[in-house]
Symmetry: C2
Subunit: 168 residues, 2 copies
DNA sequence: TCCAATAACTTAGATTACTAAGTAATTGGT
DNA sequence: ACCAATTACTTAGTAATCTAAGTTATTGGA
């Protein structure tokens, strides 16, 4: 609520306060952003989830399912489900090679390629709305700070992964 | 990846780039944060989803289900399901009054109240990890910028809501 | 060369969220 | 005093995500 907190709080209480928790704030940013984006993409029958896979494929068409999962930040089973939907919607095709018969390569259909012109700018549009009133420097500051937070959390996650590897 | 982007991009391309999209970055922050938190809360059989409801109840015990939904930022059906789980786990009770028989008031059990001492600091702990290397000023800057983005997105959502009210 | 480990993907089942539509209780305008 | 609108909650059905446990193909060390 309050833009500037007038009261002093001890650290534990401070961070427990939803409005001050980075995790909570990030959740609200993500969901608000995502809902507005989906509202637009759905006019072309593309969900926000599918849009994320398409965005990656617009940049790198023909990568494997595994690579796509990594880039998008999803687990493989999630990708399987998403790709089923995209395949059904005629937006992607899967190709196997004799080279390594385990791999599946994902390709955009011509229709999906054309959709980039319409769908990609929608993200830019929401971005404009989200950053209204923020200077370029402030936007970069926000991006930079979020990246540092992401790096910190990734470091911690990595530490835990190493620990569980040792156990296993 | 890169902390500072060295290449100029036109706006559309710039914002389409996942690593620069506020929406994408917020998603990664939220999910990394959430996973680390859940890893801790699960040691007390509380999921991250449940934790969010408990956090609000620790601050305001005895509010209605509707109020709880709003505060936590979830829709009512989500709250219904979450409360079922919390009730089953013996963490909350529901109470009806004769005053207004539609309303259900949610109360923490003594056990859930005790859990605050253990579970609430876990968020603070993740927060410490997430903001490692950031000065107090930087943390406040990040919170402030995220709040401004949230306000911007909420304004837009409100506009759309008004439009659809007019139509209806 | 062979078999165990690894890699790529899939399936199954659970969780958490949503929208849309339903029920029951209350309120408010005529 | 009534009935239509609103409020509070629930139910039903769907989507997107996860973990755990498969299957099939490849690789690498004894």
């Amino acid at each position: 609520m309050a833009k500037n907190s007038e009261v002093y709080r001890n650290p534990a209480e401070y961070y427990t306060d939803p409005e001050n928790s980075i995790g909570y704030l990030a959740r609200v940013v993500f969901r608000s952003f995502s809902r507005l984006l989906e509202r637009r993409t759905l006019t072309h029958d593309v969900s926000a989830g599918q849009w994320r896979f398409l965005r990656q494929l617009w940049r790198e068409d023909g990568i494997t399912q595994r690579e796509l999962s990594e880039r998008v930040g999803m687990r493989e089973p999630t990708t399987v489900v998403a790709l089923k939907g995209l395949e059904k919607a005629g937006l992607i095709t899967r190709k196997k090679t004799e080279d390594d018969r385990r791999k599946t390569f994902i390709h955009l259909t011509p229709h999906a390629k054309k959709l980039e012109l319409v769908l990609a700018p929608m993200n830019a549009e929401i971005h404009e709305i989200a950053t209204k009133g923020l200077s370029d420097a402030e936007v970069e500051m926000l991006q930079g700070l979020m990246r540092r937070v992401i790096d910190n959390l990734a470091d911690e996650t990595r530490k835990l992964a190493v620990l569980s590897d040792v156990k296993a």
